[in-house]
């Protein structure tokens, strides 16, 4: 249980997926202009991350059992892509409300590095955290934490960006450069959480 909380805190705060690990920067910069799109995109990311982990974790066990680990990258990306397409179709047909909320973001996420990243990191974690018995449940928790960390970064940054719209910035810095510098400051604020996991005695 302690370890689960540690995973949550790490994913959301100390090793924030976007601001510390640089995964999912494209949507972070591209879709964070408005709060509602930022939230929609993040929810879709959490959803797909959980789904992808749930599928690839057993798949990895299969690959390992048959000594096919070198196929990991190909298999994972294809499975995720197919899965996302399938989920999109199913949602569109049966869960219209969810599709309306998340549907547009789903194809964007297929080849998003955050999703493949979380899946691969979870597999790496099995050996990295073997002392804690990292298993399927932990993988799901850390996927959720990664997605939630992404959401936190997106939502915070959407707020920052709405202020930037009206700010008077030097001409060369207009647009993307000032956005990146603002991201640097947001990221710096997350450095303040360093050591919180150890400090709380969770690891």
């Amino acid at each position: 249980m302690k370890f689960m909380i540690a995973l949550l805190v790490m994913g959301i705060l100390t090793q924030n997926f976007t601001l510390a690990k640089f995964l999912g920067i494209c949507p972070f910069l591209g879709v964070s202009k408005k709060l509602n799109t930022a939230v929609g995109m993040s929810l879709a990311v959490i959803f797909v991350m959980l789904l992808a982990t749930a599928v690839t974790y057993p798949l990895n066990m299969f690959l390992e059992a048959h000594d096919l680990v070198y196929l990991q990258t190909i298999v994972f990306i294809l499975v995720i892509a197919a899965l996302v397409q399938m989920v999109e179709i199913v949602l569109k047909k049966y869960v219209k409300s969810l599709y309306n909320a998340l549907g547009i973001y789903l194809p964007l996420i297929t080849t998003n590095c955050a999703v493949l990243g979380v899946v691969i990191l979870n597999i790496d974690n099995i050996s990295a955290y073997s002392a804690y018995g990292f298993g399927f449940g932990h993988a799901m928790v850390s996927s959720f934490a990664a997605g939630a960390g992404f959401m936190l970064a997106m939502v915070l940054f959407a707020g920052v960006r709405s202020r930037l719209e009206t700010a008077d910035v030097p001409k060369s810095l207009e647009g993307l450069p000032i956005t990146l510098i603002a991201a640097a400051i947001v990221s710096m604020s997350f450095l303040g959480f360093t050591g919180i996991v150890e400090g709380m005695g969770l690891l």
């Binding site: 601001l19 510390a20 690990k21 640089f22 995964l23 920067i25 494209c26 910069l29 591209g30 879709v31 202009k33 408005k34 509602n36 799109t37 929609g40 070198y70 196929l71 990991q72 990258t73 190909i74 990306i77 294809l78 892509a81 197919a82 397409q85 569109k92 219209k96 599709y99 309306n100 909320a101 549907g103 547009i104 194809p107 964007l108 297929t110 080849t111 998003n112 590095c113 493949l116 990243g117 691969i120 990191l121 790496d124 719209e165 001409k171 060369s172 810095l173 207009e174 647009g175 993307l176 450069p177 956005t179 990146l180 510098i181 991201a183 640097a184 400051i185 990221s187 710096m188 450095l191």
Partner: protein
């Protein structure tokens, strides 16, 4: 398609370096740029790995462009790219294990690098083999150059070294006479200064990228080119799948409900490719920001 067209190979090669630099002008591949540019050696290693994948996948996709049905092209491209990424991954693990260690998850993540899928979609899928290979080489060099700039700034300011760890990367192939990179930390500490560690932390990555992009924008502005925008749609491989109208509306920050999910318009993969080349407007110079 454009079989009869004459290609200016020199132009295709240099456009990736300057006018259409994938990182600084087209704003693609931001994740690996930020994550692996903590030092020059890391950044350049990443750049070279991506360049190899890019050239190979451009060649393969361009050779297969008449065989791949346009409706299934994105999955087909992904399979091709993933195969080359796996090959590169194996080679790096075998010959440069230090690089494998420092790139970590970003080595397999080359497979979702927007630059590679973007070039497949925008260029290799429509052009003959040779020119696609040249395009891949040019874009790869541009990516590597941008990573070099980022890495140099971050490493010198953040760690007080330059080319540190070069022996672990190419020491196995080239005799470096014991050269392990420059180290300024000692000289610095004599003046009572220390490197600004924040530059090798994530925050410094964002900051350096922002400043270098501002410099690139300024140079572009002088040449009369538009500044770099996150125009995901031009080079973005998702363009064909995500429904450009919403995407474009998002970019030009129109009304708040621009990204309303339009239920009738399924962002399907079967839209024909709309964009031509991921065209940054022609011009002569989108010059690199200086390293130092």
């Amino acid at each position: 398609m454009a079989e009869k067209k004459k290609y200016n190979y020199g132009r295709e090669l240099t456009k990736g370096f300057l006018r259409e630099n994938p990182v600084l002008r087209l704003v693609l591949g931001t994740c690996p740029t930020l994550a692996t540019s903590t030092s020059v050696v890391n950044g350049v290693g990443m750049g070279i790995a991506a360049t190899i994948v890019l050239i190979c996948s451009n060649i393969a996709i361009s050779a297969l462009r008449k065989v791949i049905p346009s409706k299934a092209r994105i999955p087909a491209y992904i399979v091709v790219i993933a195969s080359f990424v796996t090959i590169v991954q194996m080679l790096v693990k075998a010959f440069v294990p230090a690089l494998d260690e420092s790139l970590g998850v970003f080595l397999p993540l080359i497979v979702v690098n927007c630059i590679i899928l973007g070039r497949a979609e925008a260029f290799a899928g429509k052009n003959p083999v040779l020119v696609s290979a040249v395009d891949g080489l040019g874009m790869g060099i541009g990516f590597t150059a941008a990573l070099f700039c980022m890495g140099a700034v971050r490493e010198i300011l953040g760690a007080g070294t330059f080319l540190a760890g070069i022996d672990t990367m190419i020491g196995g192939f080239v005799d470096l006479n014991g050269f392990t990179g420059f180290d300024f930390t000692e000289g610095l500490s004599r003046t009572g200064l220390a490197p600004m560690t924040v530059f090798i932390l994530p925050a410094g990555g964002f900051f350096t990228f922002g400043v270098i992009m501002a410099l690139a924008n300024r140079l572009a502005d002088r040449k009369g080119l538009p500044k770099a925008e996150l125009r995901g749609c031009e080079g973005c491989p998702h363009a064909a799948v995500c429904g450009r109208s919403e995407c474009a509306a998002e970019e030009t920050k129109e009304t708040a409900d621009a990204v309303k999910p339009s239920a009738d318009k399924k962002p399907a993969a079967d839209e024909p490719p709309k964009e031509t080349d991921a065209a940054a407007p022609a011009g002569n110079d989108g010059k690199e920001a200086d390293a130092q």
